[in-house]
């Protein structure tokens, strides 16, 4: 009963326009003060420890920063050129290239909205020029952009790992096969639609263009090798990988592509080389572009972490009142098995995803369902991937869907039109969700092969 009031209050406050973070925090504080003997000081401690005590969450600012450097630094543009060179000549070529580019960018960035912004802003305009409808273009990108959180690295996976104490590295590995699968399913769907509707296709520009574009984009794409190779090659932890990615992206953007920083020149002029301006090696660190990118990434980190920190206060309430145990007991008493349980989890997340931003939702739901899942013998990594795929769908369904908002901004069209445009591809993601939910091996095969079976010591 109390838990229903608590969640009702959170949603009620959100709906009257209280910021999400404050809705979570304020409701939780009231509950702790009324129901338990927890002090306000303990709540302040929780708030501070949300950052200082959750080492894995550190990956969030770093991945956001790496994304920012890549978006401002021209990495996305080069990836798109490369994608067009490879798959642009198929029926629906540019759309397929858009999905492919989203997959590649997803492998560099930890966030879905970032993927939509980086790729969508260029691809949508490009698709319209060659004759696609704006709706089709927006629908494709809004969906493909969600791969940002499924293909590693992923901020949402980091949050899940942190909330449940599973290994981030395992989660990343687990996302690889589902991520490739979802991308392939989207591309096949486009191919079929293109065949049926006779959508435009580009021309094959030859292997020369593939290699040239590949070489250009290679500097950016090499980041995939650095992140995955570094983590699984024993050079750094997943958290550190994010910091290394940020530093690498900064160097590529500033010194190789030179689209930002002291060597950048305005549109139409050639960027300077380091030989022409060696002092840039020092000034780059203090350049206005560097500061602005750091600041923008910092601001996004703050808004995201403010929500997560307050969600952790809510988690404190749930723990303190032992609510997960009560729900678990109720579900076990009702005789629910793993299958029914997963249906319930999917429904909770799909509904929750309508109101909340993914990271915040994961922090709340994961500790609630995790103990039950363990009880029912569900693999924690599999559960994590299911949650991530649910979050993907949440991002492109109204009323709250980050990808919808971003796509509507990028494509310059009303949100409801983006929603309608996304529907056919959303259906694909739904089928995909069902597959991921009931075929655990899709998520568990890779981590089990490379890292041994998951240990459950709880």
């Amino acid at each position: 009963m109390e838990v229903a009031i608590l969640f009702g209050m959170v949603i009620g406050l959100m709906l009257i326009g209280v910021p999400i973070a404050v809705s979570l925090g304020f409701s939780s504080i009231l509950f702790l003060l009324v129901l338990s003997d927890t002090s306000l000081a303990a709540i302040a401690q929780s708030f501070f420890q949300a950052m200082a005590g959750h080492y894995t969450l550190l990956a969030i600012p770093f991945f956001i920063l790496a994304s920012s450097f890549m978006s401002t630094g021209g990495v996305a543009r080069r990836i798109i050129r490369f994608s067009i060179a490879i798959v642009g000549h198929f029926p629906g070529g540019l759309a397929i290239a858009g999905v492919f580019a989203c997959m590649l960018f997803a492998a560099l960035s930890g966030s879905s909205p970032a993927t939509v912004v980086a790729i969508g802003s260029i691809v949508i305009a490009g698709m319209r020029q060659v004759g696609y409808s704006k709706d089709f273009a927006a629908g494709v990108i809004a969906n493909a952009g969600t791969l940002g959180i499924l293909i590693p690295p992923s901020i949402v996976m980091v949050v899940y790992a942190s909330a449940t104490d599973v290994s981030v590295g395992r989660m990343f590995l687990a996302g690889v096969i589902p991520g490739l699968m979802a991308g392939t399913m989207l591309m096949l769907t486009i191919y079929l639609i293109a065949k049926l509707r006779d959508l435009p296709k580009g021309e094959w520009k030859g292997w020369g263009e593939v290699f040239e574009a590949g070489a250009e984009a290679g500097w950016g794409l090499f980041l995939i090798v650095i992140i995955l190779g570094g983590i699984y090659g024993g050079i750094f932890t997943p958290t550190e990988a994010a910091a290394v990615a940020a530093i690498y992206a900064f160097f590529i953007a500033t010194f190789v592509y030179r689209d930002m920083g002291p060597l950048a020149r305005p549109e139409g002029e050639r960027n300077l080389s380091l030989m022409q301006k060696p002092v840039a090696l020092i000034t780059a660190f203090f350049h206005r572009d560097t500061r602005d990118t750091l600041f923008e990434a910092g601001k996004l980190t703050v808004t995201l972490m403010f929500i997560i920190a307050n969600a952790l206060i809510l988690k404190h309430v749930l723990t303190d009142e032992q609510i997960p145990q009560q729900i678990a007991a109720a579900m076990l008493n009702a005789g629910f098995g793993a299958v029914m349980f997963l249906v319930i989890v999917n429904v909770i997340l799909l509904i929750g995803g309508q109101f909340m931003e993914p990271s915040g939702l994961i922090v709340i739901v994961a500790p609630l369902v995790f103990p039950i899942a363990i009880e029912l013998g569900i693999d924690p990594i599999h559960l994590g991937i299911i949650m991530v795929v649910n979050m993907e769908i949440g991002m492109i369904t109204p009323p709250v869907g980050l990808n919808l908002f971003v796509t509507s901004g990028v494509a310059g069209m009303p949100m409801m039109r983006v929603v309608r445009a996304s529907l056919p591809f959303l259906a694909v993601l739904f089928v995909f969700l069902i597959m991921v939910t009931y075929i655990p091996v899709l998520s568990t095969w890779l981590p089990t092969t490379f890292m041994g079976p998951e240990i459950i010591t709880k």
């Binding site: 401690q45 599973v166 404190h316 723990t319 041994g452 240990i455 010591t457």
Partner: protein, 311 residues
């Protein structure tokens, strides 16, 4: 849930409830308190770091937000440097020596050394002796040279790894398995029960039975809360704690030996040292004592060594 009128005792810890020595002890304590003190007091246990981790829990205890905790002894170095004695390598010969030291006047007095800072020790809980593992065989101390070891956050343990010529790396416990597997760090030190429970042996070349140190816990409480309890509640709770401690500590050696055998059964490699090899480890690591002699107090070291001589 607790009934109205009962004194609520929150116990927050970081392990599971049914496999880890500390978790088992906490569960037993909870059962006995809730049965025998029903109507007077009620204990709620929060396992698996769901409420606080070992560092935060002591802050929360001083603040009065939690009443019982059992962090590992290294965590108390913050409160009094005397506790560094438990981290010094080869200070105790075996778990019996540890047990006798903790129950001696010197050991019992240590439980009260933190009272001026608000904490009161109620009981020492054993985990066991520490072993060392790495991604290559560790036979002589030279084998550890140049390796990166994950250690608990303690100045003594960092100094110990430095003495071996290894490089100490602090790391969140949840990242250790992955880090050992990929080689971000090369080795670690832990008790049999932790090495088995966390499956570290799967991703290490082998475990060397060094018995070079201990991991033990202290059940602590907020001294103001403890002194504010009604006399009868305090004495009954104290008695239950002593009995649970005696029961579980007697089992701890067996738990660790069972875990050692389980590791072997699961295909893990366990290496034993002969007297000469072991002496070589002692020779390299024992000089660490000198760095911390002043913190620990010579009289405490002497007391520990006198007990060692008997075992």
């Amino acid at each position: 849930a607790c009934d109205d009128g009962e004194i609520v005792i929150k116990f927050s810890h970081v392990t599971n409830t049914d496999k880890h020595p500390k978790g088992i002890a906490a569960t037993l304590l909870q059962e006995r308190v809730n049965e025998e003190m029903n109507g007077k007091a009620c204990m709620e246990v929060f396992p698996n770091s769901t409420l606080y981790n070992d560092d935060q829990v002591l802050e929360a205890m001083l603040q009065g937000d939690v009443q019982l905790a059992a962090p590992s002894l290294s965590k108390f170095e913050q409160f009094t440097k005397k506790y560094r004695i438990f981290d010094l390598p080869f200070m105790f010969k075996n778990i019996e020596a540890v047990d006798e030291f903790q129950n001696s006047d010197t050991g019992q007095a240590m439980k009260e050394t933190m009272v001026r800072r608000g904490l009161l020790g109620l009981a020492f809980w054993h985990n066991g002796m520490k072993q060392m593992s790495a991604n290559k065989p560790l036979i002589m101390p030279g084998d550890a040279k140049g390796l990166k070891f994950r250690v608990q956050n303690s100045d003594v343990l960092k100094a110990q790894m430095a003495a071996l010529g290894g490089s100490p790396q602090p790391m969140a416990f949840s990242e250790v398995y992955g880090a050992l597997q990929t080689g971000v760090v090369d080795g670690q030190e832990n008790t049999w029960s932790n090495i088995y429970g966390q499956k570290f042996f799967e991703v290490q070349d082998g475990v060397t039975e060094t018995n070079h140190g201990i991991i033990d816990y202290m059940l602590v409480t907020n001294v103001d809360w403890w002194e504010g309890l009604p006399e009868d509640v305090r004495s009954q709770l104290g008695t239950i704690i002593q009995e649970v401690t005696a029961t579980r500590n007697a089992e701890s050696f067996k738990v660790n030996q069972d875990n050692k055998l389980s590791i072997i059964a699961a295909g893990g490699v366990v290496r034993e040292l002969n007297a000469e090899q072991r002496q070589a480890w002692v020779d390299v690591m024992k000089p660490v004592w000198d760095q911390f002699r002043e913190d620990v107090g010579q009289e405490n070291i002497d007391a520990a060594q006198a007990i060692n001589a008997k075992h």
